[in-house]
Symmetry: C2
Subunit: 395 residues, 2 copies
């Protein structure tokens, strides 16, 4: 009897592992994608970045792919083989991180071979398409910082909130040193886990810091949504503008004071920056431009809510942009990035650049070659932006 | 034109949020489950812990539930209503954490209303059924420690591995203090994220430490799987026993030295303990009993691989258990827990208890009333076990 429990468990686990192994056809030019869960044979990828998708659904009448793996807005269908596996090989996919899912007879489901990532407002399959410039975001044999899950109670929302906080490796061994702090915001439909998981931000920062290209800094990644517990305190809180008022209050009254007391943060505006991607770029503008005394530098990575009105409407943000000298004095770095494969964002940055140049506001503008509205653009943005931060120290 | 990007993003996000809202029938006795993703109306739960599941699949011929939400091994089918929603209301569910999924015409998919958790060897829907004794694992207005994602390179496996490491709140403000360390192992098909996410271990530890019921300690949660890069160094590495040899080496040569140099850990066996749930309990026995000089205390939470042979076969673990006095001298705490609703585990603990009593080995045995082979049993185990640790200090 003494081996029964052990054997049962072995059998159970073997079943668990192998039940999901899908019988692969032999095509040696495709290998399992590095971002797959352990043991998953699909999705597979070729050297030229074609992706071989497969899902077993013998009874389904139609299987379609959704998400942003493929650029085409037209529906793309998989084909069924004799074993009931629906399969397709995509054209070469744009390098970077892509969310996707299957629609099996119209029911959205994740790819069982992938990890899930919070995107599109729920846990969603994600795949890493290899990039040629991965060197800056892969882990190396250098000191590594930690990304800490930090819980705190928010009075404004009446909820426990979670931030992820990067502390550099040397933070552990320099107990008397205070560090500058960067608040880094995610995009629409994502959450506070995005930057460390999809964005590989800790490896980017580790690599920059080890190469002395960026100052060691603490990076706070919090959630971009905030619903007030007392909606009478925030009338019309269903509008996005008003949601951002709530989020701004959560930053000013809760996140910033809590983070800068719990962690060893150097004081003053000169040691504080904010940046965000897509929706988070708009929030960075909303919070940063409305509180110019707080942040020395601001970064807009495909900034989705930052409008060209900063160069066309002298009344926005309390008239902040009507005085170029004042803007230049108040900010060390105003940084705008976008991918060349997301033209609407790149075009808007061009309008802002032109407007800034016309009145003499200093801005830095970056184009990420060959990338779209996805995480590889934003990894590159972080890599570029972080190198420029906290050069002047406290001011 | 200046509002176009903004408006597009508002529309896009609204669509994202509401696309998943399923039109709920009005039954006021059911409310969305607290563990749902933001805005998800299903699954819903009643006061008496019945769960109302729903998924839209108008074209499906059959929808079934899988996982461990329901104790019955028989297949349970949902019923389709006029709107194409498949729905069911379960009998009252055992309190605690349950993994589950839908089988839509035989295709396994997660519940779109739930978060996913790594279990059953892939990201899997999970649901929290409220417990009456939740007080010990919910967050409170007390100091909170961080759970840190810590990456390191493993020479043995040739891979980057990730540990989650809990550091207590006071760790931040006591730079000269070394802390005892507990290595805490997950179960089969799960990963290093389980204890902090499904297990709420940080809140359990925060609560214990704030109430001075447990010593402030560092807790390391690493992955329970290890495949050697050089399989010739570990012949027959496909057997579980041999996989555990690899894992043991990873602990002894990599995890323990790396963690105890990166974090401020008090030296010596008296400051080092290990515990694990299910498969992790077996691994704790394998690593701990084979290296009795390393750990002062060991915990087995529904320990799946710890066999009764420790009391029936005097040759196991190098004859360790043939000398009761030596065992009692070598270990401060040998702790065995199981839920009353997982009889095979409870029964084995009873056999070990009887065997220990017969020869005079000191063990502590705990039964978790009314819980099964799931996380609520293991939360309670951690709560009980952690209070007993590191009472003697270094020895």
């Amino acid at each position: 009897m003494k081996r029964i429990v052990r054997c049962t468990l072995i059998s159970l686990f073997s079943a668990l592992v192998f039940i999901q192994m899908i019988n692969a056809q032999s095509d040696d030019s495709f290998v399992p994608v590095a971002s797959n869960i352990d043991g998953a044979e699909f999705p597979r990828i070729s050297d030229d970045l074609r992706v071989w998708l497969q899902i077993k659904a013998p009874l389904a009448a139609r299987v379609q792919i959704g998400g942003d793996l493929l650029p085409s807005p037209d529906p793309v269908y998989l084909k069924k083989n004799e074993e009931g596996n629906w399969t397709m090989i995509t054209p070469p996919v744009v390098p970077g991180f892509h969310y996707y899912w299957f629609l099996v007879d119209g029911v959205r489901m994740n790819d069982p071979g992938c990890n899930t990532y919070y995107g599109w407002a729920r846990p969603t399959s994600g795949i890493e398409i290899p990039t040629k410039d991965e060197d800056f975001y892969i882990p190396k044999n250098i000191p590594h910082g930690d990304v800490r899950e930090h819980w705190y109670y928010s009075d404004i929302t009446g909820k426990w909130r979670r931030a992820f906080v990067y502390t550099p490796a040397e933070y552990e061994t320099s107990p008397d040193k205070g560090y500058p702090i960067l608040y880094l915001l995610h995009g629409s439909g994502e959450n506070e886990r995005g930057w460390s998981l999809q964005g590989h931000m800790s490896f980017i920062m580790d690599n920059l810091i080890a190469a002395r290209k960026a100052k060691p800094m603490v990076v706070v990644m919090d959630n971009g949504y905030a619903v007030p517990k007392d909606s009478t305190a925030y009338p019309q809180s269903t509008s996005r503008g008003n949601q951002w008022v709530v989020l701004s209050d959560v930053y000013l009254k809760e996140i910033i004071p809590k983070m800068e007391s719990f962690y060893r943060i150097a004081p003053g505006k000169g040691n504080r920056a904010m940046a965000g991607l897509s929706m988070g770029g708009g929030q960075t503008a909303f919070i940063g431009f409305n509180n110019p005394g707080l942040f020395s530098s601001l970064g807009f990575f495909s900034g989705g809510g930052i409008a060209v009105d900063i160069v066309s409407d002298s009344s926005v943000y309390g008239g902040l942009f009507s005085d170029a000298v004042s803007v230049n004095n108040q900010f060390e770095v105003l940084w705008f990035g976008a991918g060349t494969h997301e033209p609407s964002f790149a075009e808007r940055n061009a309008v802002i650049k032109e407007g800034f140049e016309k009145v003499g506001i200093k801005g830095i503008f970056y184009e990420s070659e060959g990338t779209a509205h996805e995480w590889h653009t934003w990894r590159r943005c972080l890599y570029e932006f972080a190198q420029l931060l906290f050069k002047k120290g406290t001011k």
